[in-house]
Amino acid sequence: MTATLTLPAELTIYSVTQLRTAWLDALLERRQSAAAGTALLSIDAAAVDEVDAAGVQLLVALAKSLRADGTSLELRNASGPLSQACQRLGVCALLGAAAPAGKQA
């Protein structure tokens, strides 16, 4: 498992259940793999085209789980819709450019 996840085009209520399962698998895999120690998980967010609060909530939850593992989440190339949504929901600090400055193990 690489240290990179890729977000789908649709990050909405319609895809969250499916995504959560996939991400949980990824987390599990990550914990078992050598990457577990990595302090940073980069997520490529360029493709995100449609996003809603449920989608962002899922990202926040993911970040939380990662944080428990001592890993920071970094969104890269966040698309326009996604960065707008994060801003609107007041979570840009958590997901945005500030992420690299986040906790390090």
Binding site: I13, V16, T17, L19, R20, W23, L24, L27, V51, D52, A53, A54, V56, Q57, L58, V60, A61, L62, K64, S65, A68, A85, R88, L89, G90, V91, L94
Partner: protein
């Protein structure tokens, strides 16, 4: 099961009330639309318009009348946009809304009749909905009828509130777990809130969101706190959350600075009669707090009934002076409420026949009372006479009060014609401005109902025949827009209704030619000018060259006259060629009871309506002799007063007395005297119709029964005045027989 039955029973019981109320709302809607054509930007009217539609939709919803709800919803959407100033009411839009209103009325009527089918109009409704959508620019999604939406609309009063924007509002919102499942998106809500102003310091409590393992991704865990810099009112802000209101917790803290503003604001508010609404509108209370307080008030009503103001003070922390300012405002509004349109308070619905029954009984009471008073006087016992007089006074007061119950302003009838004028003028390609004067003149309800049809015909006639096409008007040097005036006023115990137009007037030659053709006038005879005009009221007379939809079937004017005469009224027409026509209708104020002045000639008793009596003078010996028709003149303060002798006029067989009196009567613009033997004083007169035998007797309007059982005839002062004033030009045969009809056609 039984509750469902109960519900069904309740609905069946309440449905007629709903229908009549909805019809009224729809009527008001129409009137408001028409008023708005003159003042398309009147915010109050627009607000009232919206409320009408909203009320119809709301109550139709309670009765499960889905068709009404679905259709009215679209109308309401458009009205909402109009009210918010997002659109302007154009004539085309107005026409569309009027047609929609017709549909609403149709649907509401169909709700009351299980056999009625609204299928045939379904296509038209669909077309209207389409047009409404186009007009309001809303997306065609049907989802708009959700209860959330209705809730949002019901909290908004459409009053832009600009003064509260001095500081930021503090908002704290917790979205419910089911938000996503209900198809709502906090992101969209926030975006909408952001459109109201500027969101500052938004903090999302991301802590509440569990980690991925614990998360049910379809549960919503968002919670936000932020400040909103905005000019919007508390309601508007709260409305942004209305879609999620049921499962979100919202706290709204208004800017701190506004106490003095609020007081001003309350005074400046236009219309709102509910204390809570006033407070909500100025932002002193939030709708949710109000609802809570109202609920608490309802709960507590078993014990000590709490004042809403107190409750709000207690629960929502509203300051006492704010509440008292609102209460003052409310008081003021209540006082003026009787005059405002769109005001639905303080009426009791009474069935007309119950009222009629009371009035009938009252008539009997008046007669019986008069009889008792007479007997009392005959006993010559002071105390008995006094007691009976007091009873008499009370009866009189009850009579006045009861008759007042039946009085309605004629304006309601007049405003019904706005639509007729508008549509008819449009159909005929004419431009017409309708002016209504004296709409608050009151008239007995049954009169109002029965005069509506004749009036309608006269109005149509004026539109169709009287007013010209714009081109024709311009050519005649008149403004392209024709004027039609409906005026009403009180005059000497009767009501005078006038229909004036500034059209082409009536061409006497054509009337005369037609009358000759129809055999209404003998060839070779030319009646006087003003009598020619009255010919149009003769049966079978119509001058229209072609029969139009509107009038010209030749069944009109004579029916109009018959209807008006059936109400003991008169109708006359005058016209200036090229300048327009004027039709005057005179009606008695009520059909039932009048104050009469009892007079005697020989052994006969007559009643003159007291309103028409100006004074009584002694009959002085005069040089002028009574002519063959019982007329002569006397001098009254330097003016000539025609006097009619009842003895001569009605060939009463009794010797003339030495001492007699002249009762001076004012009828319309005329004065004349009536020569009588005895003055018997005021008499409460219950009007009974004349029998068929006496029906054609001219100068009389009815009969009454006196206290002692005698019958007295009641004069129609206008008709009697005609007799007194008729010029010497027409040499009619003398006696009662000549009085059957003044119609000049018989000359």
């Amino acid at each position: 099961m039984s509750t469902a039955d109960q519900d069904a029973g309740f609905i069946a019981e309440a449905l007629p009330a709903f229908i009549s109320e909805a019809q009224e709302q729809s009527m008001m809607l129409e009137q408001l639309l028409l008023q708005l054509e003159d003042a398309p930007d009147d915010g109050e009217l627009l607000g009232a318009l919206f409320r009408c539609a909203h009320t119809i939709k709301g109550s139709a919803g309670m009765f499960g009348l889905d068709k009404v709800v679905a259709f009215t919803h679209h109308v309401e959407t458009l009205l909402d946009r109009l009210r918010d100033g997002q659109m302007r009411l154009s004539p085309a839009l107005s026409t569309l809304l009027l047609r929609c209103n017709d549909q609403i009325r149709l649907l509401v009527a169909a709700a009351g009749d299980p056999l009625a089918s609204t299928e045939e109009s379904a296509a038209e409704r669909e077309a209207l909905v389409e047009a409404l959508r186009d007009a309001s620019g809303s997306e065609p999604a049907g989802a708009a009828t959700t209860p959330d939406n209705a809730a949002r609309e019901s909290t908004a009063t459409g009053m832009p509130c600009s003064t509260a924007g001095s500081g930021p509002w503090q908002l704290s919102v917790q979205f419910g777990a089911d938000t996503f499942r209900n198809g709502m998106d906090p992101l969209a809500v926030l975006s909408y809130v952001a459109s109201l102003g500027t969101i500052v310091n938004l903090v999302s409590e991301a802590e509440d969101i569990p980690d991925l393992e614990q998360l049910d991704p379809e549960n919503c865990h968002w919670r936000f706190e932020f400040a909103l810099q905005t000019a919007a009112s508390a309601e508007t802000i709260e409305a942004a959350f209305s879609f999620v209101r049921d499962d979100c917790t919202l706290e709204l803290v208004p800017p701190h600075v506004l106490r003095p503003d609020v007081l001003d604001l309350i005074d400046a508010l236009p219309d709102n009669t509910r204390l809570g609404e006033i407070l909500v509108t100025v932002g002193a209370v939030q709708p949710a707090q109000l609802a809570e307080a109202l609920a608490a008030q309802a709960d507590a009503s078993n014990g000590r009934p709490a004042q809403l103001g107190e409750l709000l003070q207690e629960r929502a922390g509203v300051e006492p002076q704010v509440i008292s300012a609102a209460l003052r405002k409310q008081q003021k509004l209540r006082e003026s409420a009787a005059h405002t349109i769109g005001d639905d308070s303080r009426y009791i619905r009474v069935q007309a026949d119950r009222l009629d029954a009371v009035i009938n009984l009252l008539g009997e009471l008046v007669i019986a009372g008069a009889g008792a008073a007479l007997l009392a006087r005959q006993t010559r016992q002071g105390s008995l006479i006094e007691a009976s007089e007091q009873v008499g006074h009370l009866i009189e007061e009850i009579r006045n009060g009861t008759l007042q119950l039946r009085m309605v302003p004629i304006g309601e009838t007049f405003s019904r014609f706005r639509r007729v004028v508008r549509d008819t003028a449009g159909e005929l390609g004419k431009e017409v401005h309708l002016e209504v004067l004296g709409g608050d003149t009151e008239l007995d309800k049954s009169m109002v109902e029965r005069i509506a049809d004749p009036l309608m015909h006269l109005v149509r006639n004026a539109l169709d025949h009287g007013l010209e096409q714009p081109v024709e008007r311009m050519a005649a040097g008149k403004p392209a827009e024709g004027r039609l005036t409906l005026a009403a006023c009180h005059e000497a115990g009767s009501i005078l209704i006038r229909i004036l137009d500034d059209g082409r007037g009536i061409q006497r030659e054509r009337v005369l030619a037609r009358a000759r053709e129809r055999g209404l006038v003998e060839p070779g005879v030319t009646p006087p000018d003003d009598e020619i005009l009255q010919l149009i009221f003769e049966p079978g007379f119509s001058t229209a060259e072609r029969v139009t939809n509107l009038s010209g079937r030749g069944v009109g004017m004579d029916v109009v006259r018959r209807n008006i005469e059936a109400l003991r009224g008169t109708v006359s027409i005058s016209s200036e060629p090229g300048q327009g026509s004027s039709i005057e209708i005179r009606l008695p104020l009520t059909l039932a009871i009048i104050d009469g002045f009892l007079v005697g000639v020989g052994s006969s008793k007559f009643i003159l309506p007291l309103d028409a009596v100006v004074e009584v003078i002694e009959n002085r010996p005069s040089l002028s002799r009574i002519d063959a028709r019982g007329r002569r003149v006397v001098e009254l303060r330097g003016q000539v007063l025609p006097v009619v002798s009842l003895r001569a006029l009605y060939a009463l067989d009794s010797p003339e007395l030495e001492r007699s009196s002249v009762v001076v009567i004012k009828a319309g613009t005329r004065r004349y005297g009536v020569l009588v033997d005895q003055l018997l004083g005021q008499h409460q007169t219950v009007i009974k119709p004349l029998g068929r035998l006496l029906g054609s007797l001219r100068g009389m309007s009815g009969s009454t029964i006196l206290g002692n059982g005698e019958v007295a005839l009641i004069f129609d002062v206008n008709a009697l005045g005609d007799l007194a004033a008729t010029g010497t030009a027409s040499a009619e045969p003398q006696g009662v027989t000549s009085l059957s009809r003044s119609g000049a056609a018989h000359v």
